[in-house]
Symmetry: C2
Amino acid sequence: MNNSTPMIRSVTVADVAREARVSKATAARVLGGYGVVSDKVRQDVLAAAKALDYRPNELARSMTTGKSGIIGVVVGDIENSFFSFAVRGISDTARAAGFNVILTNSGEQIEAEKAAVRVLIGKRVDGLIVTPSESRDVSHLRDIHRSGRPLALLDRALPDLDVDTVTVDDRNAAMRATKILTDIGHRTIAYVTAVDFAGHAYRGLEQIYTSSVRERIEGFLAVCREAGIVTPERFVRFGATRPEATRAITDTLLSAPDRPTAILASDSLIAIEIFKLIRQRGLRVPEDISLITFHDADWTSVTSPPITVVDQPAYLLGKAVTELLIRRLKGEIRPSQRVVIPTSIIERGSVGAPSGQKT
Amino acid sequence: MNNSTPMIRSVTVADVAREARVSKATAARVLGGYGVVSDKVRQDVLAAAKALDYRPNELARSMTTGKSGIIGVVVGDIENSFFSFAVRGISDTARAAGFNVILTNSGEQIEAEKAAVRVLIGKRVDGLIVTPSESRDVSHLRDIHRSGRPLALLDRALPDLDVDTVTVDDRNAAMRATKILTDIGHRTIAYVTAVDFAGHAYRGLEQIYTSSVRERIEGFLAVCREAGIVTPERFVRFGATRPEATRAITDTLLSAPDRPTAILASDSLIAIEIFKLIRQRGLRVPEDISLITFHDADWTSVTSPPITVVDQPAYLLGKAVTELLIRRLKGEIRPSQRVVIPTSIIERGSVGAPSGQKT
């Protein structure tokens, strides 16, 4: 090559040292922000670094200092606006504290979650925030812990992993939402969730490995039983992972002879498909079917009727979990904390008495 | 410590070599997947690695091979479902080709975009996909190029950066959407976009540094002028970056004596705020105001009336840009490509003749 400015080789600490006429060790101390040097030397080195357009090699730096200034995040499904609000809470909080965020998406698949954790640990993030897709297999999360990096859990607790965790009051939220339906007279109520396993049919709470889902279903079933509903678990439906799956599940529910008079949806992606299908079948909300969903997604307030929702403070959840993590990153030593953030119910127009009944 | 299993030190190549009774160089060749060894030796080393639960140090590996198996992505706003669909297209395509994806969010801020690019380069991603927030300042993108890493642009072209680029036909899409409005008789049409700068008011196309936005506004203005509208740029509004800002802009538009009879929204986050505000003011869509938005967001089909949209194939956009990048990562040498993916218009119920006029 005849070109005298090499295209790829970057400016090194040695180059800066030479330019500033100091030792490489001294230049490294200034550029790395550690050790003690005189103000004059610091100024010389920084001026040389600027003149040469020196860029720290982040990778080499992280090997030296052990700190990358980066928080790694693994969320379940970035297309779900619950998570995108949580991620904004994380990003805003991290940025304000001088951290960058890199994000990976597990698609609620445990293998993808493990791969994501491996990538982030490999990339030497300082700490991780994870929404664990299930509680059976936590070896990869133990690995984070063992590697000495702080880990905090978002939205879902793991009974076997004692780390900082921020969730909402899932059980209580489901109870209040279900009670709105039973109080107005509903006795055939379906619960539809994305969590999946072979068969899609409920066999027992112990089969549900996602804490938030188990707690919601516990709450749902408890209130149903309290209202005298026999075997309410008949109407718990799993596997609404994608629009097509949700439509198939809803289709079966709406075609049954004992069609539910109300549906509680576990997230807003599920609820919008249910809402569309109800309308496509010429049924009315709430006259024919009442509908409540978790998450105050933007669309829920603009439909006719607008939808009653469990409002989960997703942004706040992201903010709280990041604050806990950053306190650990700054060296705070304390027992792990479990923070539960309360939800509220926003009553709109999608709940009515079951058809054929007046209360 | 009395514990005989060290908590933090990880198993090294040297440990595996010792266990497998081979040299460290041989173990490194097997574990690194390079060089030639006999099948017997390979099996011994892999068995030893498994027995010791050896995990490759991704960071050290990337320094050795120069490949991390990771694609870095910088998107404008992950809360915008256009981008979350594009990210799913990217992730699915990357995963199918054996790559992991790490994601950062610029919030459409150039400084955050630069920081994100620095982080990803520092983390030695193999290549980057970026939705550049503006075209004025591309030094950080040139740096990627200079570092020898492939770069591909998503959704927005940069005139000064000749790299693989996948966009939609923004100008044409805006023309078709605007023509629907002018054909039915609208002569006072507002265009609302998130792109911001001091003053919020249009002064000329040259002030718009985001290619997709400039092309849309070009298309919008061209069709308006063709329909005989004088100074249509009076109704171009910038800075609808967040719900509050969009509401303020819409409020001003709706309060003006020459209130627009139709609004074209540049994304679905803007459109939903406009739709809510129109209803809050007791106005009707489309009787009082017609509304078209870019992006077939989930909510647009469930409102009353459902909203006419420019359907952008976001998933396909993500897929196409990732395929181009991966071909480069695999060593393909070719001139850069500019792929333009066509959009379509889904006509629903939010467009009508302007009030007081019949066509």
